[in-house]
Symmetry: C2
Subunit: 188 residues, 2 copies
């Protein structure tokens, strides 16, 4: 059983987000997070390798979902469309997660150290996409460029949707990928 473990981990994440929202990331110590979660500072570092990591946990799920989608995509599709479809398949999960993702993103936006970590996570995800494309026979350079630009479109869509949900996430994704193809087409 990993019952207690999951409890403590979840409590730590909740306590961290609360405190970061109340006092800001820099004015919150790991000891305070641990105290609010009812454990000691040492236990915090047993669950998370560093203070930043407490806000970055869903990346593994995202990665497996995306790479799975890519592997299963019909073989006739070009890399851009493969990735677009993979990102669209995330839509329901993201929408269900919005109430957590929104305040979390506010904290990240206010904290350079967390922005750095987020960029690293995005880069790791992009790298996984690149590998998944190469496994489909896409050339190295092309895989890199396709993964990078699609990730940029996805990030833009997600952030603008978190900022203002009046336009749905699906529409944002469509708009971003339409713009992407327009960019490459008109520029010749």
């Amino acid at each position: 059983m990993a019952k207690k473990e999951d409890d403590a981990r979840t409590r730590l994440q909740g306590a961290a987000l609360e405190l970061f929202r109340e006092r800001g990331y820099d004015r919150t110590t790991t000891a305070e997070i641990a105290a609010r979660a009812g454990v000691t500072e040492r236990t915090f570092f047993r669950y998370f390798p560093d203070k930043r990591e407490v806000l970055f946990d869903g990346q593994v799920i995202l990665r497996t979902a995306l790479t799975g989608s890519i592997a299963q995509a019909p073989s006739g599709l070009g890399p851009l469309d493969v990735l677009f479809q993979a990102f669209r398949s995330l839509q329901p999960a993201l929408e269900a997660n919005r109430s957590y993702a929104r305040p979390r993103q506010d904290v990240i936006a206010a904290t350079p150290a967390l922005q750095e970590r987020e960029l690293a996570k995005i880069a790791a995800l992009t790298h996984a996409l690149t590998l998944a494309l190469k496994a489909r026979g896409v050339s190295d350079l092309r895989a890199v460029l396709a993964a990078d630009v699609c990730m940029a479109a996805f990030v833009w869509a997600t952030l603008s949707w978190l900022d203002d949900p009046k336009v749905g996430l699906g529409d944002r994704l469509d708009a971003a990928f339409r713009e992407l193809k327009g960019l490459l087409a008109e520029n010749g």
Copy 2:
């Protein structure tokens, strides 16, 4: 006069790169860097806000060069071509800098903490490119996508050229941007 200042700063950068190559980033303390540069640890932190930053200094020069190029580009050009031209104008400076950039890149590649910082610097540069494009009347979304994909092409070209200079930087840049434009053609 900022004579002593520049001396100390330069010495610190040199000492840091040396030590990182000898022992690795993690096994090098800021006190050791300072000692090799002939100053105290406190002085290190007067010149650099944190330990990582000692390896990231040329970003301002890069940014001004790129944004300047973009602002001066002929108005008929599309965003991709504007950025391509801007990056090509960096070629001589980059080639002159290779003997420093090469070992530096090795250290970064071996150190996750430095990779994070580099991603943050690249993201900041990309943001500056986005603003420069918007100043030319490019729409927000299109500017974001164009800046991001061109930066990806540039980074790919630079890294692969640092890794193996048998193919020149100019050729790498050409190849990356050619591939970029080919992305859509086959992708439908």
